[in-house]
Symmetry: C2
Subunit: 455 residues, 2 copies
């Protein structure tokens, strides 16, 4: 193992340059540009092959999935999958970036670029740990297969079919994923619950064209106004409680003990949290803390609103249509499809007759929860403690990793969620970054983990 650690230390400057090259390839899956995605996947393919991994791009109906494995048929070893995604969130609004999103820039020990922490930097740390084993001719304690997909940010809709088709090849003892947060640089974590997600887009239409607000205003419904009224029916404006019948069905209630544990040792103070987000005050359902609002409670968010004229100055029209993009974060045991059906029903019941409505359902992913007492978790705990000098906190996370439930359902294995990102890494926001300290520790942690997993 000394050789592995020495290699990781010595080669770090090159690893950083490689990561910079990787994040400079855009790969915004939401744009639907297949060429842009393929370029990124092919870079990764070439990189894995250079590490002597057995690497292939699998075409799907969407973007290709990279599979790169150390597996050979000479010896029977435990087999783990490392999951990650090479696609990233859209970088807009561009004007808020201090350095361009796809021009990776190191400032103060942090690598700034879209995808730096979500998720390229995190799975790249695992790739480099495996490289260290290979290049130092140190035998890996287990077989490792990297499954790096290109559609996580748009719901991983083609990955589940891919897993089904390749069940045999991917038969494994577990999955390791670094795509979550740790509370701070000093506090590592293992995530044992994720929120699910359900997306939809609602469009209201009035006249078939924008019309003069002087000549026609007052005699026909204004779709933007109708949308405001419709959206306002979804939520209690003071508490944020969702008013859709059945929305909270199945939401699991935590014991007082579990809720207390969520707020101990390292849990962020509300005022610091508020100041970090620069909001006038925190918000949310009564009786729950901000930590609970973002983990054990489901939410509904408007991600975007569009209607009429949005340029400089004014345009005196009654717009022909107005639309809202909505996503809901779900908690155990809410079912995405049932929630979408309930929201659709609510919208249909509340939509006025003066407009027509179109609802498009987007991606959905089930929430995830597992008992944090498995052998894998204990192994990760030991490795983390050694590398970070502190035991991991067991946390629930507000985000969603759709594929985690697929791994359970299709391959029958749990996912070990060991996040290397920080809450202020600006995932999905301008100025996304990755702490280089975590890039380094992530590689060492990965190297240690494989050893611990087979004990």
């Amino acid at each position: 193992m000394q050789k592995v650690h020495a290699y990781l230390k010595k080669e770090y400057p090159r690893f950083l340059e490689e990561l910079k090259e990787y994040v400079s390839l855009s790969g915004v899956s939401a744009r639907g540009d297949k060429q842009e995605m393929r370029k990124c996947a092919e870079w990764l393919l070439a990189h894995c092959r250079a590490l002597e991994l057995n690497a292939t791009l699998y075409q799907t109906d969407g973007n290709p999935v990279l599979v790169a494995t150390t597996k050979n048929n000479t010896a029977k070893k435990p087999h783990y999958i490392v999951y990650g995604h090479y696609d990233v969130q859209p970088p807009e609004p561009l004007e808020l970036w201090k350095s361009p999103p796809f021009t990776p820039t190191v400032r103060g020990g942090k690598l700034f670029a879209r995808g730096a922490s979500d998720n390229k930097g995190q799975h790249f740390a695992h790739l480099k740990a495996v490289e260290a084993y290979i290049k130092t001719c140190t035998p890996l304690p287990c077989d490792i297969t990297f499954v790096i997909e290109g559609e996580e940010e748009v719901g991983s809709s083609n990955l589940s079919l891919f897993l089904q088709k390749n069940k045999k090849m991917l038969a494994a003892d577990g999955v390791v994923i670094s795509d979550t947060n740790m509370p701070s640089l000093k506090t590592p974590a293992i995530t044992y619950a994720l929120r699910g997600i359900a997306a939809l887009e609602v469009t209201l239409r009035g006249s078939d064209r924008d019309v003069h607000s002087g000549s026609y205003g007052g005699s026909i419904e204004n779709p933007a106004f109708a949308l405001a009224h419709l959206l306002a029916t979804l939520r209690n404006k003071k508490t944020g409680k969702i008013l859709v019948r059945g929305f909270y069905d199945g939401v699991c209630v935590l014991t007082a003990k579990e809720r207390k544990a969520m707020h101990e040792g390292g849990a962020e103070d509300a005022e610091r949290y508020r100041a970090f987000l620069k909001v006038p005050c925190l918000f949310g359902e009564k009786g729950f803390s901000h930590i609970e609002h973002t983990t054990i409670r489901p939410t509904m968010e408007i991600n975007g609103l569009t209607s009429g004229y949005q340029g400089i100055g004014s345009k005196t029209i009654v717009p022909s249509c107005a639309s809202a993009k909505i996503t809901m974060r779900l908690v155990p045991h809410q079912e995405p499809q049932r929630v979408i059906t309930a929201v659709k029903k609510h919208l249909m019941a509340h939509c006025p007759k003066s407009v027509t409505m179109e609802i498009k359902s987007g991606h959905g992913a089930e929430p995830y929860l597992f008992e944090p007492n498995s052998g894998e978790v204990r192994a990760a705990e030991r490795a983390i403690k050694r590398v970070f000098g502190a035991p991991p906190r067991f946390i629930r996370e507000g985000g969603s990793i759709p594929v985690v439930t697929d791994f359970k359902k299709i391959l029958g294995v749990h996912s070990l969620l060991i996040g290397l990102a920080l809450p202020d890494d600006n995932a999905h926001s301008p100025n996304e970054k990755f702490e280089l300290a975590n890039f380094k520790r992530g590689m060492v942690l990965s190297a240690e983990l494989w050893k611990e997993l087979v004990l």
Copy 2:
């Protein structure tokens, strides 16, 4: 006069080509591009000079005002102003135009282009009538001064100072404006009331950047949701009645007789009107017809909504801000500034503490109303009857021409509103058009009008 009419007939093909050239110059004042505006104004200047008018561009803090006059100091004649505007509405959404907005195209006797009827085609008809007098050496019965401005679509905010500064030069007996509608090709009209306008833009801000809806959603206010709730407080969603305290103060109540007259002879049937606008049903305050909703009742419209991600697919964020562009159409005797103050007060009272609010006031214009029994109106009535073969209807119009109240206040003169546009001309919408039949008749009407006005 025979020579004038013969000239208008003979030269019509050239006039149409000239109008096409004029509308091919964009001139979207809302864009704030001074060069684009100046190019249009200079074309007009050169055109007027070629007609031997004494023409000048007057610089303002905004776009230049063209003044072109037949006036000379040799003979004392009555003096009329023809007002128009060379600026146009933004052409977006471009994809809905059958031919590009600034590539004038004649189809079925209609000229399609942004600005064709609002307002270039209409004031160009007057210009061509005056040309016919000049070029046939027919003495004009009165002096005529064209005042063509470049900021009507953004509230004419610099014109009032211009009128004040040039009161002496512009001393006149009346103003003639063709910037309104006639009910149909067979039904000419004189407009005796206009709605006023008041504009504002409200922006709500939460976090200083868009944040990950998984990591933070549920713990902070979503500005788009807060905006929906806030906008929903402004209006009764069923009736459209505005719920701002004091909004309806001063709104004049019409007599049953006047209301009845509004619905007689040529008033458009509600079902035909609905079908023309292609809306599922009409909308508006109870107890009023669609004709009343668009003329004698004030309204509030959302002209545009913006928040978060609006591209393809989804972006799972809590947006940092959300904004709405709002304009209100006002009726006699509402005062724009008082209405804006009332709405601001309402928004401040209803804005939640979880977001910060910014309100920008835009342009305002008072509503206009005059007694339709003056000598000028009778003169216009005679000219219209002769040219259109039908008497004009006296109508109220829902749109606003901010300068009309300025002409009254500053120059002390009334404006004669003789519209040549049709309700289906798509002013402010894609596929704006001008009926060439009305271009032709407009020129003849203008030629006849000067004769009648001095009788």
